[in-house]
């Protein structure tokens, strides 16, 4: 039994790492920011953490905190231009940001190892650390969702004009969401660095961006459980059906098209909405029958 579980430990680690990134993407989308910057911010965090430990000899926990800080600060800087843009323009600007990070990464080879990547990072993060990080992340997201902040995010996402007229500052809330998302991406980038011995610049490129987006979209963008469901399904799918592992990107592509067209709210969100609607209609039917008996009497 333990042997079977041990065999799946790397997959579980990967799940926890990607879940954190997925939440980073989920949070900005939830606040109505159409940003794809998570990949770039994760690269910033990963390299900050890696360089601090390898070149400067920082202890891993300190480097982890600083990586989160770096992600948050870069996100803060990025949020200033993003606040002036909307929709597609935000998406394009953040894709440009990812490209800038990627090419600077390759250019500054003295610092980052360039195309060869950063090697020899001591492995200090195991499943237990990742599990603790995962639980803390979900807890943080849950707290945000159920606070005034989460409700403000929802209002902004659904209609900016209405939110503004209710006295919710769009710029302030979106900036805050973006900073939290950046710090989260930074921390998880560093966790990935401390988990896998080496970093390569291409690791945080287009494939990474698409995977993270696919997790959030498949699972659902508006409930806390969405990213968990999406990440689990997309990571388990190639494991369950081995032939699919060859065509992982094909499967991701087809799923993206199908989910966006036929299940635009994602799997978890759609199920939750259906359950809610059923409960509501059941309650309505009950009160309806009560009402009819009342009029009959």
């Amino acid at each position: 039994m333990t042997n079977i579980l041990l065999g799946y430990q790397p997959l579980f680690d990967l799940f926890l790492l990607h879940l954190g990134m997925a939440y980073s993407q989920w949070l900005v989308l939830r606040a109505g920011v159409f940003s794809l910057a998570t990949a770039g911010l994760a690269a910033v965090g990963a390299y900050t953490g890696g360089i601090l430990v390898v070149s400067l000899g920082f202890p891993a926990p300190v480097a982890l905190l600083l990586a989160g800080l770096a992600g948050g600060i870069v996100a803060l800087g990025l949020s200033i231009p993003l606040a002036r843009l909307r929709g597609v323009y935000q998406a394009i600007a953040t894709v440009a940001f990812i490209q800038i990070v990627l090419s600077l990464n390759i250019y500054a080879s003295g610092l980052t190892g360039g195309p060869q990547g950063l090697n020899g990072i001591p492995k200090t993060v195991g499943t237990v650390t990742l599990l603790i990080a995962g639980i803390l992340t979900v807890y943080l997201m849950y707290t945000i969702t159920n606070s005034r902040l989460g409700r403000a995010f929802d209002a902004i996402r659904q209609n900016e004009a209405v939110a503004a007229s209710l006295g919710v500052s769009i710029v302030r809330h979106q900036t805050l969401a973006f900073i939290i998302s950046g710090a989260l991406a930074g921390v998880y980038g560093a966790l990935e660095a401390f988990h896998s011995y080496a970093l390569a610049p291409s690791q945080f490129g287009f494939t990474f961006l698409i995977s993270i987006l696919a997790y959030v979209v498949l699972g659902g963008r508006n409930t806390i459980i969405g990213p968990i469901v999406g990440t689990a399904i997309l990571l388990l799918l190639p494991e369950i059906a081995r032939p699919l592992a060859e065509a992982r990107m094909l499967v991701y592509g087809l799923l993206l098209i199908l989910v966006i067209n036929y299940l635009p709210h994602g799997i978890a969100d759609t199920l939750i909405e259906r359950a809610r609607a059923r409960r509501l209609s059941a309650r309505l039917a009950k009160s309806d029958s009560v009402a009819t008996t009342a009029t009959r009497n």
Binding site: I92, V95, A96, I100, S103, I170, L255, I257
Partner: protein, 296 residues
Amino acid sequence: MLLQQLLNGLVVGGVYALFAVGFNLIFGIQRFLNLAHGAVFMTGAFVAYYTVEAGGPLILGFLAAIIISGLLSVLIEIVCFRRLRKSGDAEFGAILSSMGASLVIMTVWQWISKTQVVRFPFDTVPVVIFRFWGLRVSLLQVIMMVAAVVIVMIMAWFLYRTSFGRQVRAVTDNEKAATLVGVNPNRTYSLTYFISGALAGAAGVLVGLAFNNINYMMGEPYLLFGFAIIILGGLGSIPGALLASLIFGMGQTLAIAYLPSGLTTAFIFSAMFLILLVKPTGLMGREEAGILRGRR
């Protein structure tokens, strides 16, 4: 030397124009960012290569590439966008949906080409160099320039001088009003996607010939350049995309020639970021980058 670089840049810019005009045409008509455009571009290059390899003449390969890329683009519209257009939240959905299409097309070509880089046979375009005023121009560059100018002119004639072009511009302006006066929007969209795909396919063949390095990843950098170009020219504006392509082609060539190598990409995208920050509508775009959204 500078003049030579500018000339090279102009030629590259012409090819970028083929790519970016199609990209921007779709954005102009539907407000969708078609991320599968790079994959359509790559399809053009592969179709031309396999036609030439099977013994066909290059011109046949070029025509086959244009037609198949155009049809692929129409297919993308039907599969990825048609349902989305009717739902409210299409802006976000279209990006993801076309990203999915791009992944599918890339995987298929990866299988067909067995992840290999393929190259046109050496003498597909004879190596002839013309010299004048101290400049060097190869036959290939002449072909690229002529093809780009002719194709763009055909497209401009189609859009601005035919009844179909009026329909496209009517639908771009206001879909409901156009439907009221009897324009079939679905047919208009299909034709627009065909034009867009055909332009991308033509660009794919020309790039394939120029750099002779055809692989399943080749669309990605052009898609990113396409972003930069349509931001510079203004999202949705065809003349803007044309002008921006030429500026971009020359700017890129100069950056490669005179900036430290490896910084070109960072330079291009930083410039693009700056444009977004200072003038998000680009050279000829409409005012809309910062409008508040009120969806659903």
